[in-house]
């Protein structure tokens, strides 16, 4: 997977990163179909430019950039998303294959996190990006990425303990 993207290995790359990319895209759009459209556009754009496959920061930055463009393109959607972001109770949140009730509660707690913390958490836990990669993708410092992650874990730990 260290080679430059070629047509032969895109399926391997997609099967590895697909669920994480989709989860990442779901933070900005409500419907899974919209999220899949974003992932498709980002993945094709990334692949066409023959970037190194292990440049995951750029891949996630592309997803983020396209997601923000999609929101901006549709003003009605932008308004709706802005309302969603301002109301943490109804935030979109990552989508999981949920098992028991504790997982359901944990997913709900993730949903309640501030958007910038959830973004870092999703990239770190379910996409296994390093803080340096997260920092590059989001245009923030390594320390900011690490501290957002820590705040997210701290909030989740508290909500987990209260259950």
């Amino acid at each position: 997977m260290d080679n430059v993207a070629t047509h032969e290995d895109w399926k391997v790359c997609f099967s590895e990163f697909g669920p994480g990319l989709l989860l990442f895209a779901r933070q900005w759009v409500r419907s899974p179909t919209d999220a899949e459209d974003i992932v498709q556009e980002a993945f094709v754009k990334f692949w066409r430019r023959n970037h190194r496959v292990n440049n995951r920061a750029l891949l996630y930055a592309t997803v983020r950039s396209i997601a923000l463009d999609v929101i901006r393109r549709d003003s009605r959607r932008a308004r709706r998303e802005a309302e969603v972001f301002s109301d943490s109770e109804q935030s979109i949140g990552p989508q999981f294959e949920l098992g028991d009730e504790s997982q359901l509660a944990l997913a709900a707690a993730i949903d309640r996190l501030p958007h910038e913390q959830r973004e870092v958490l999703v990239m770190k836990i379910w996409n296994e990006l390093t803080f340096a990669e997260i920092a590059t993708a989001l245009g923030i410092s390594n320390n900011t990425a690490a501290s957002r992650y820590r705040y997210a874990l701290n909030a989740l730990k508290k909500s987990f303990q209260t259950q």
């Binding site: 669920p19 992932v39 498709q40 066409r48 950039s65 294959e97 987990f160």
Partner: protein, 166 residues
């Protein structure tokens, strides 16, 4: 980070939902189409698109028009020659338009937004897009009459900076 190992393990137990089966097929089609369009793009070289900020240009023109209107009013106010027989001091003949001199130009950036990495048309490498929202103020003063003119308008600037991602 040991304090968080328990919660991290719980989080890792959550599995992200898998993409729908047809997404891979859609990507395959899109990549095939992209290959075809890449062949076309190699033959037809696209001209570089000139980015023109219509908002700033419009406001700039409005400011210039306002300046001309005020300058004209000032010309009209110059004292008309009278038919007095005797006059102690002659009225100085000055051009009000030419005596308006620029005295200041300020640009206050009141909001900066980092819009992340983007692919600009015609560029292979990603670029970081910064959006600056500003208020620009231009000032002129007529040293002869003491009249001053100030025009202030909002403007927006988008700056693309190349990023070497790899």
């Amino acid at each position: 980070m040991n304090d968080f190992s328990e919660i991290e393990n719980e989080l890792k137990k959550l599995r992200a939902a898998r993409p729908s089966p047809d997404l891979a097929a859609r990507i395959e089609c899109a990549l095939a189409e992209a290959d075809q369009s890449a062949v076309t793009a190699a033959i037809i070289t696209k001209p570089r698109r000139f980015h023109f900020n219509w908002l700033s240009a419009g406001l700039g023109l409005a400011a210039a028009a306002a300046f001309l209107v005020f300058a004209r009013i000032n010309v009209d106010r110059t004292p008309a020659p009278t038919n007095r027989v005797a006059q102690n001091t002659p009225v100085p003949q000055t051009s009000a338009v030419s005596s308006f001199i620029p005295t200041g130009a300020t640009q206050v950036v009141y909001h900066t937004r980092d819009e992340g990495l983007h692919y600009a048309a015609g560029y292979e490498e990603p670029m970081r897009r910064m959006r600056y929202q500003k208020r620009e103020t231009l000032q002129w003063r007529n040293p002869n009459t003491g009249a001053s003119l100030r025009v202030s308008y909002p403007s927006e600037e988008v700056v693309l900076t190349p990023v070497s991602g790899q």
